[in-house]
Amino acid sequence: MNKPVQIKRDENIDYNIQKYIKPEYVYIPLENKNGVVYKHLVKEGDYIYKGQVVAVNEGINFPIHSSVSGYATMGNNKIIDDGKKVKCIVIKNDFKEKYQKSKLSVKEKYTKQDFIDALRENGITGLGGSDFPTFLKYNIDKPKCLIVNAVECEPFVSCDKVVIHNYSDCILEAIDMIMEIMGIPRAIIGLKENNLDSINSFKKYLGTYPKIKLGFVKDAYPNGWERNLVRELLDIEYDKYPTEQGIIVSNVSTIYAIYEMFKYNRPLTERIITITGTGIKNRRNVKVKIGATISEIIANLDGYNNLKNPIFIAGGPMMGNSLPVDDVIITKDLNAVLVIEDDFEKNLPCIKCGKCIEVCPAGIYPVFIMNNGNNIDKLKELKPGKCIECGLCSFICPSKIEVREFVRMAKVKVSDR
């Protein structure tokens, strides 16, 4: 197995969470980045309550909720974090935050089935970036271990650290409840070994939870990847999903979302995202409504610095996407926005140094995939489908070639046939 790569940079994290939860319009995209299509359930002109189901993924009966109350309009196309233009339900916010009455009852006790239903009904998805419905993960028999992923290995992104700093007691409480409901014997919170602030935040309250342990990984990329984390903490390998081995891996922000679900029994409508980069005047973590647009939020955060060639990135610097406009919908999986200068060196020819092979966490051969881009038979042998798009090959390449983009293309080519 290749060793993860240390990416050094000093980060000054402002642990205060600024709130911006009064967007004028909220957009509910009817397709997500994984290509899942949602069926809309509301008509133009309908009054929509906060927390009302406005669209549903019919395959697994997974709902999307409105994060504000107001009147619906239809048919606007907007881009989401992977740059795809998708059809949206648009809700004009009336700032009343009106809930439907029935939604507000708080449950005292959950059975396992209640819990899984609640996860589904409240639209909890992985907030780490996968946009994978959480209830699917928890729907397994006899889970052995719960791993809470608090590694957050992408540089610049700090929203998980901020959540931990402010809500470590809530997170521990939620983990304890989940363990009791699900009958999970133990839980490990995976952290970077040098992330002392988060470690101390947990240690303050850890004494009362003997079954919850902290587990440490090196400050290296991509140690926040599920597979690396499970290997480092438990020394277990799995084929496709960790649930095969009875392991549930949840992001720490997802756990906090579950905490809020326990407390208020209301759907997931807000999240914390990191807005940073040299192009941003006021770099910080912001609590936002899911469905708001980034442009509105940045405008409320004192706007942009003047850069020569700014680029706008949805996501972290390693895995994020550069987008043509800042008018991007905040989805549940968007954890950061980065505006930086485009001062990247131009690329030289590949000198076949093999460094991309040395760092690839999936153990594939990026350079061969790049050089055999047109030979489908060879591409199939090289299994580009294993790529997790972590971007390490592009990071390490001394010739500054965007190796990952070639692997991505190969991935598409192979899956097309």
């Binding site: 020819p349 001394p398 010739s399 965007e402």
Partner: protein, 471 residues
Amino acid sequence: MKKFKVRKGNFLKSKNSTSNMMYNLLICLIPFIIFATYKNGIYPVIKGYGNLYLVFKPLIFVVIASFSCIMVEYLYYLIIRKERKTFNYLFSESFALIPGVFIGLIIPINTPIWLLILGSMIASLSKMLMGGLGKNKLNPALVGSLFITIIFSSFAGGYLNPLELDTISSATPLANMTASSYVLTYDNLVSPYGNLLDFFFGNIPGSIGETSSFLCIIAFIYLVVNKVIKWRIPISYIGTVIIMSLIMCLSKDIGLWFIGFNILSGGLLFGAVFMATDPVTTPISHEGQIIAGILLGLLTMAIRYLTPLPEGVLVSILIVNITTLLINYFSVKLFSKRWIEVGIIIFLLLIVGGFSFVIGSKIHNKEIDDSYKIISKQKDNNTTTYQVSGRGYTGSNSIKLKIVFKEDDIIKIEVIESNETYMKMIFNNDYLEKIISNQDNLDDLDTISGCTYTSKYIKEIVDKTMKDYFE
């Protein structure tokens, strides 16, 4: 709504860059240029074997070779591709001077300047014709120096600077080994040049700047720490040579010094660290790199011991450059069956083992001496006159001596006939008289440096004749 430029890719780049890698390589070569200046210039000049030109010759070689390479690339772009490239581009993006610097260090110091320029041009041309940086299939520096070696072999003079020509026994250690019909004794291979420490620090005849194994090891550590080179290749290359030497040592009862001799001679470490790790022309996958290293070791030893070519490093690296295409092809084919590659490595190691015995059957662990002959033996009162012939440095029967005994002593030794190159030094040193005066303890008599072999063989012939006389 604000518009942004779209950029495909990731947005964080590591600090290491191709130009950094190349600069690190150049930094590592500076000590070699300094060493070359000392060994080929300063030291001989101090000893009175040359003039000031010699001091700067290594540096001049490097500069001329680099300049030729840059000119060729500049002209190639200008004439064939119709692009005018700046010096900065040629230096920091096409790395035009790297082959030149290497050529300046791996050729004989006696190479004529015109040949050096021609060789450098061919090196650069080979790189450009195969598509330029990143696309060349053969290491350009090696192509150039192979060309120079082939042409140069028709010139007289050999590898050496004047000091080496005059004071040491006239050939590189490996050429000397080939000349002495693979008699692998310490006296034969190492003693003429001092001891293994001289080999280690590079105080032996050889190309301009590649003899110092000590500098090579330091450079290797520097390059590995800075992640510049594919370290698996030199490690498996040198490992293979060690294994083969060890098997030869054990099976033929040769001392373990032989391992050191094999690694420290012939510019093997320089080749392993700098030439065999050139990123462009070597395999990419880890298993492929190990396979290439083993092949290199195998080929180098085979060329050294089974062919008349003394120096095998250069040619074996070029051959492995060619097999790189094949190795890379199989790396793709066997991506999901990597155990096959591991199998290939084990298979190759078995071949290495077997091959060591093949080479072992071709070498000797002691002098074969069948050429000693008593031509005539005349007794006259109490004097006995022998006419004997025996092996010399240039071959069997190249020395013919007349030895006269009176009672229990040798009273006269005369050289009747000799093909020896340095017989003059024997007379200059009064060596024959020394043998007569030391005849009771010949073992303690030192050989003459500069004609070590001739003096040693004369001593042996006298020794054998004495044995015959006293029987």
